[in-house]
């Protein structure tokens, strides 16, 4: 019965994005680990249990920081045509979003602190629907800029946003 499927979009995000995701995740984990270390040093009862908790956190953190970026890099993909923007994202829960260029309202490009560190940017394409912003993160700056220009030009060429 299932004869058609969605093919993955053509482009991957920047390779640097893997480091960016790893750094961002590591930062979060480091905060948690720091709290646990302080707690471990602070007072002396039941050291074993707390040490075990710390070790467990470190193991989970290391796994997350190493596996997640690679996985994500494999999944996150995007593509634009003159008619549509198409993205694929997620890991446990995968998601494909398709938005017609003719219904685009805004094209935003943003750079968070971590993204600046790795010279990356993300692009968010919004339509008149609050449920359907299409977000592509982990692009290198030049690609992001080109994408924004391209989408803006295409979107201006067409009218009507179905509100």
């Amino acid at each position: 019965m299932e004869t058609t499927t969605l093919r993955p979009p053509q482009h991957r995000v920047s390779r640097t994005a893997r480091w960016y995701w790893a750094a961002r995740a590591a930062f979060g984990w480091l905060v948690l680990i720091a709290v646990q270390v302080i707690w471990l040093v602070a007072d002396g009862d039941d050291v074993g249990l707390r040490l075990a908790a710390l070790v467990a956190t470190v193991i989970v953190a290391v796994t997350h920081v190493t596996v997640m970026p690679l996985w994500r890099y494999n999944v996150h993909r995007w593509e634009t045509t003159p008619e549509a923007v198409y993205t694929q994202s997620g890991w446990f829960k995968q998601e494909w979003r398709i938005a017609p260029v003719s219904r685009i309202q805004t094209v935003d490009s943003a750079r968070g602190p971590f993204e600046q560190l790795f010279r990356l940017a993300n692009v968010t394409v919004t339509t008149a629907s609050a449920a359907g912003p299409v977000r592509i993160s982990g692009l290198d700056r030049e690609t992001a800029q080109r994408l924004v220009d391209e989408l803006t030009a295409n979107a201006q060429a067409t009218a009507g946003d179905a509100t």
Binding site: T5, R7, P9, H11, V75, W96, R97, S129, T163
Partner: protein, 563 residues
């Protein structure tokens, strides 16, 4: 009517100077009563602060009259407001989607009404919507006609009460129906109104089943407790309360629970019925020949909502479980410029109050002006895999609860009733799961996407394909194993996105392709069923050769990529 051609700035009605202080006093009534009861002897400064707050609020409200002005130019609606921070809100007139005219009891006594203008965009983020509180009632009705009926002369735009124009409609004529093409060239015979539905007294029997009274009971409880705390009143000391509590305490525990539930149920039923009458008395749904729908309702606070039909993207037939049990349903508009939510009664998007299901369906068909199959036709079921998912999802939660409780009961001192209650819940959850599956369905009828889901509140949404913006396809790990996806049609109307849950991937793509012809085509890889397992992930990144894809999914091939 107030025919305004120029672009002069207009003011709100000066009578609002009377309304505003009274409203503030009512809002702060508990604090004031507390102040009166307790006086200053109680020592706390809380009541005094409340009084100071009241004075400030009244002052600011009064200032608002001096600072707020509005005007309607041929292109724009503009509102200037603010004292220190001057603001000019400008909305292009062709962005006006809905006009909502509300009048509470004070407004009505003074012949005023509050006007809210809904636009496609601004409502979503909460800020920037146009509110004029308040205008004279005639002015408000005139403004509505001015904004939504492009012909400036609108005869009989109904004011705050149903004025009985066109009551004698010869049958329900679904002419000039919801399709944009048909609605635009409206006959120029200044304002013909056709009645689509009106409240019948026997519908009030659905009142007790709406449970809207729960909120009322909550509000009363909140009011009483605030009164008690601000006025330092010990409720237990009041004689009737004391004796009731005493009687209550003398009952055995099961009786106590039974009595409590019964009293609450009776209260809620009475409050719900009253609420129904207050909200929906005089309800009328009419279609104006210039392409708008009007909803008039309300006993004390009246509300008149006008929806531009071109922006009506569909309908939602919603049946909360209790209402469904007595074969009732309500109708909600899926339109841009009106927020859905907030109980769907206070939101202006309600098109029909709880009424017999058949009535709701026939009204829906008349509003959509088309095929009855969209609202009552059969739906495609989602198959055994979706059914299994309904059961695993709901039973899974309960089983997990039971296991956790059992473990805690064994090794800790958790009372046994926790897991016993879990066991007792199992059959109920199974029933709900079965019902959820039974209700799950979709269809593609006459240019509309129809999707139905839910059990505690069953909703059937009919969404016009023209109103769909884009598509999201979602698949969790478990859905992937079951070969299912969740398809979301994104739209600017209503809830912004409507989901078809747990549908086969092929079917989802078929729906999406039918809805947006050509949009998905470049992204589909078709027809090699033999070489592929059913649960082939479209997103599996390392598919070595996708023959249909020019250039293939390699990450370095494309010139855009420079990483």
């Amino acid at each position: 009517m107030t025919s305004t051609t120029g672009a002069e700035w207009r003011r709100l009605s000066p009578r609002m100077l009377v309304v505003h202080p009274i409203q503030e006093v009512v809002r702060l009534a508990p604090a004031l009563i507390g102040l009166l009861v307790a006086g200053s002897s109680s020592g706390g400064h809380g009541p005094l602060w409340s009084l100071a707050g009241l004075v400030v609020a009244v002052l600011f409200g009064t200032l608002r009259w001096f600072t707020t002005t509005y005007r309607i130019t041929p292109e724009h609606v503009q509102v200037r407001k603010g004292l220190v921070h001057r603001k000019v809100l400008t909305v292009p007139r062709d962005r006006v989607r809905t006009v909502d005219v509300t009048a509470n009891i004070l407004h009505r006594v003074l012949g005023l009404a509050r006007v809210e203008v809904g636009t496609g965009r601004s409502d979503r983020k909460g800020g920037g919507e146009l509110k004029l509180d308040a205008l004279g009632a005639r002015e408000a009705a005139g403004l509505r006609g001015e904004l939504l009926h492009r012909e400036s002369r609108t005869a009989g735009a109904p004011g705050e009460t149903a004025m009985g124009t066109a009551m004698d409609t010869a049958g329900y004529t679904p002419e000039s129906a919801g399709t944009p093409a048909a609605a635009v060239p409206a006959p120029r015979q200044a304002g013909v109104e056709t009645e689509l539905a009106a409240l019948r007294p026997e519908w009030i029997r659905f009142g007790p089943f709406t449970l809207s009274g729960l909120i009322t009971v909550g509000i009363i409880a909140g009011f009483v407790s605030r009164l008690a705390s601000e006025g330092n009143v010990n409720l237990g000391q009041i004689a009737p309360v004391k004796s009731t509590l005493g009687w209550f305490g003398s009952l055995s525990l099961p009786l106590e629970i039974a009595a409590g539930v019964l009293i609450l149920a009776v209260f809620v039923m009475i409050a719900s019925t009253l609420g129904y009458i207050l909200a929906f008395w005089g309800f009328r749904l009419t279609r104006h020949s210039s392409g708008t729908l009007h909803v008039n309702r309300g006993l004390i606070t009246t509300r008149a909502t006008t929806i531009e039909e071109r922006r009506l993207r569909g309908l939602e037939v919603s049946e909360p479980l209790l209402l469904r049990a007595v074969r009732g349903a309500r109708l909600i508009a899926v339109t841009t410029g009106l927020r859905v939510g907030q109980g769907a009664q206070r939101g202006g998007s309600m098109l029909l109050p709880p009424a017999p299901l058949r009535e709701a369906q026939s009204v829906a068909t008349r509003v959509l002006g088309g095929d009855a199959a969209t609202v009552s036709g059969p739906l495609v079921q989602h198959g055994p895999a979706a059914a299994r998912r309904r059961f695993t999802r709901s039973l899974g939660v309960v089983v997990a609860w039971i296991v956790v409780c059992l473990v805690l009961w064994e090794w800790s001192d958790l009372p046994a009733w926790t897991w016993v209650a879990g066991l007792a819940l199992l059959p109920v959850t199974a029933l709900i799961a079965a019902d959820r599956y039974r209700n799950l369905g979709h269809a593609l009828v006459a240019g509309h996407l129809v999707t139905r889901w839910g059990s505690l509140v069953r909703r059937r949404v009919v969404l016009e394909y023209d109103g769909i913006i884009g598509w999201n396809v979602e698949r969790s790990f478990f859905q992937r194993r079951a070969g299912l996806v969740t398809l979301t049609a994104t739209t600017a109307a209503g809830r912004q996105g409507y989901r078809v849950q747990d549908v086969g991937l092929g079917e989802a793509l078929r729906l999406a392709s039918a809805g947006s012809p050509g949009l998905l085509d470049p992204f589909l890889s078709g027809g090699r069923p033999s070489s592929r397992h059913e649960t082939q992930v479209p997103g599996e990144p390392r598919v070595p050769g996708e023959p249909r894809v020019p250039g293939g999914p390699s990450d370095i091939a494309h010139p855009l990529i420079s990483g």
